[in-house]
């Protein structure tokens, strides 16, 4: 089966600024999340996949075709939704979406019909004859998505589609993307710095940092490949026994941080660690484990570890509560 895209030794410079540095990766069809901070190279990578930006060096193939040689043909199979720009002021919603269809080779009649259908499906029926410059940020994102979908592309390249949306708009957009991601005939590359959005929509992720790939692959394998942390609580008669238990954990390869209160700790264990080892060590040291809770591993944690914002090393127990924000920024 032909991979969705294959990238070999891709380098791209904007003048003296290195945007992508010797990047090599490939991805299978499906929903792929492109994660990274601002300036990591996400938008550049998307534009190169589209053939919109000619890369400085390397090879990029989408559906087995070289984007440099066959950019026009490939763009007929791709729908691209830019983050900020991409609206033609002066046109109304229908004209804009229909024009997108025509530019992708659709006959005018069909593109108009399809534009009406899409605007109804995306909840823009009432606003379809309104000028685009009078649309709200959320409506502009939706109309851009409509223009992306009008020619029913095989691959959607979405650059920060939830950017600038209010919570309701974001939820609606994510629900829409989820429904698109479920379709077997569609692939989706979705760039964002909101990791929660990626977890909701995508099955694969590519993590970029300073123009290089830090990690890529299925989300499950990315999460599974990380050292796991556990919150421990135990009962013991004195401090010495507790200290002995912590020392035993460390000798077994776990990194341990004691809690503020006696009988609490956070332990980060190696990948091959078996949960039973906690009980065995506790028994050997004469303590009774009263609570053993695995810390939930999410993409945010993985991301922060991979880009070096956070180490797997344990934090004091008091700081263990998961933060709600899901952005990648420190």
């Amino acid at each position: 089966m032909t991979p969705l895209f294959e990238i070999e030794s891709l380098t791209h410079r904007y003048g003296s600024v290195l945007a992508l540095d010797d990047l090599s990766l490939s991805a299978e069809s499906g929903a792929i999340g492109l994660v990274g901070q601002n300036g990591a190279g996400k938008s550049t990578l998307i534009k190169i996949l589209l053939g919109l930006v000619r890369h400085t060096a390397g090879t990029v193939r989408v559906y087995g075709s070289d984007v440099t040689r066959n950019g026009v043909g490939l763009r007929g199979r791709i729908g691209y939704m830019p983050e900020r720009e991409g609206v033609v002021p002066g046109l109304n919603g229908i004209e804009y979406v229909a024009l997108s269809g025509e530019l992708n080779g659709m006959p005018r009649k069909q593109s108009l019909r399809r534009a009406h259908e899409l605007l109804s499906q995306l909840g823009l029926e009432e606003a379809r004859y309104r000028r685009l410059e009078n649309y709200s940020a959320g409506m502009q994102q939706r109309i851009k998505l409509a223009a992306t979908l009008v020619h029913d592309p095989d691959l959607l390249l979405l650059d920060e589609p939830t950017s600038g949306l209010d919570p309701d708009g974001r939820a609606a957009m994510l629900a829409l993307l989820q429904s698109l991601a479920k379709r077997s005939d569609k692939s989706l590359v979705f760039s964002t710095h909101l990791l929660g959005d990626i977890e909701r929509v995508c099955r694969q992720a590519i993590i970029l940092e300073n123009g290089t790939v830090v990690a890529s692959g299925a989300l499950d394998s990315l999460l599974a490949g990380q050292p796991h942390a556990f919150l421990l609580q135990w009962k013991s008669d004195n401090d010495a026994i507790s200290g002995e238990f912590l020392a035993a954990l460390q000798r077994s390869g776990a990194e341990v941080a004691s809690g503020d209160e006696l009988g609490q700790a956070r332990a980060v264990v190696p990948e091959q660690w078996a949960t039973q080892q906690f009980f065995q060590l506790a028994r050997e040291c004469g303590v009774t484990l009263t609570d053993l809770e695995p810390e939930e591993m999410d993409l945010r944690t993985v991301y922060r570890r991979l880009v070096g914002m956070e180490t797997a090393a344990p934090l004091p127990v008091i700081g263990l509560a998961k933060r709600d924000e899901s952005g990648v920024a420190p």
Binding site: K47, L52, Y80, G86, V87, R113, L118
Partner: protein, 303 residues
């Protein structure tokens, strides 16, 4: 999102180059939505209506009062139905066309560069060439709407009001002249405007530069002709035959346009400037094309 529609049209998917027309049509649609352009088009229409009426009245007078008709024909040589009639008409329409384009430039293409529309276009199944051709087609059609099309209507009117077969047989070169001058105007002005818009998409700098090219440079040309004239040369001679006058691009186009209508339409003072005018126009076209492509590529790669 329904996928069922896909098969309907995928079989009839149009060639990528055909996207030039939707691009041109959209650009014209955006221009026609501005009231100012209708005002300017109205002014252009007034000139046309005046010429249309004058040709009709002259033809009627020639038929019913031959004496008065002949006298008026001598007084108004520009309305005699020769190549110069249409050449001068197109020149006169040029002023309105220039003003129209100065204001239309930012709408035709400037907003694409300024507000990210370029990304929209180039991320579709087209390339820079199709995009540029589409925009040039829009500018060309706008120029033709105010110059070539009314001139063709006047040519048709002139032919129908006199001995039709004979007129068209004897003056077929006028048709080629109108079309040739029209293509020359559309191509040169289109390339120049598109190049300028690519580099200065905002309306005010564009209007100022446009004004410099078509108002300031002709004045400068006349001043330099006067200052650097030969001692034995009269002022009139200097202001008609000096090479400094080539700074007036509109005049250069007029000289080349006159050549399209045939040698008899070319004024004697312009004959010496013909080669110079051709060089200036060709240089402007080449430079504009290069500037346009460089800018679009720059914007595309740094977007």
């Amino acid at each position: 999102m329904s996928a069922g529609l896909r098969d309907d049209w995928k079989e009839h998917q149009r060639a990528a180059w055909l996207a030039c027309w939707p691009i041109a049509r959209t650009a014209l649609l955006l221009v026609f939505r501005r009231k100012l352009f209708w005002l300017l088009l109205g002014i252009a229409l007034l000139t046309f209506m005046f010429m249309f009426g004058a040709i009709y009245l002259l033809a009627e007078l020639k038929a019913q009062q031959p004496g008065i008709g002949r006298m008026l024909s001598r007084m108004l040589p520009d309305l005699d139905g020769s190549g110069r009639t249409f050449l001068n008409f197109m020149l006169a329409q040029g002023t309105v066309t220039m003003i129209l384009l100065a204001f239309a430039g930012s709408v035709l293409a400037g907003n694409d560069h300024r507000r990210g529309g370029l990304t929209f276009y180039l991320s579709r199944r087209i390339n820079v060439l199709y995009y540029s051709v589409g925009k040039l087609l829009a500018i060309g059609l706008l120029v033709s709407l105010t110059t070539t099309l009314p001139a063709l209507i006047l040519y048709l009117e002139q032919g129908l009001l006199v001995d039709t077969t004979e007129y068209f047989r004897e003056n077929y070169n006028i048709l080629f002249g109108i079309l040739g001058y029209g293509v020359l105007l559309s191509l040169t002005i289109g390339l120049l405007l598109f190049a300028l818009v690519s580099w200065m998409p905002r309306p005010v700098p564009l209007v100022m530069t446009w004004g410099c090219l078509f108002v300031f440079l002709p004045i400068l040309g006349r001043i330099l002709s006067f200052v650097f004239r030969d001692r034995e040369e009269s002022i009139r001679e200097a202001l008609e035959g000096s090479h400094w006058l080539l700074l007036n691009l509109w005049r250069d186009l007029y000289i080349l346009g006159a050549r399209c209508f045939g040698e008899e339409s070319l004024r004697r003072s312009d004959e010496d400037l013909l080669t110079g005018a051709a060089v200036v126009v060709a240089t402007v076209c080449v430079l504009s094309f290069v500037a346009m492509v460089v800018r679009i590529r720059q914007l595309q790669h740094h977007s």
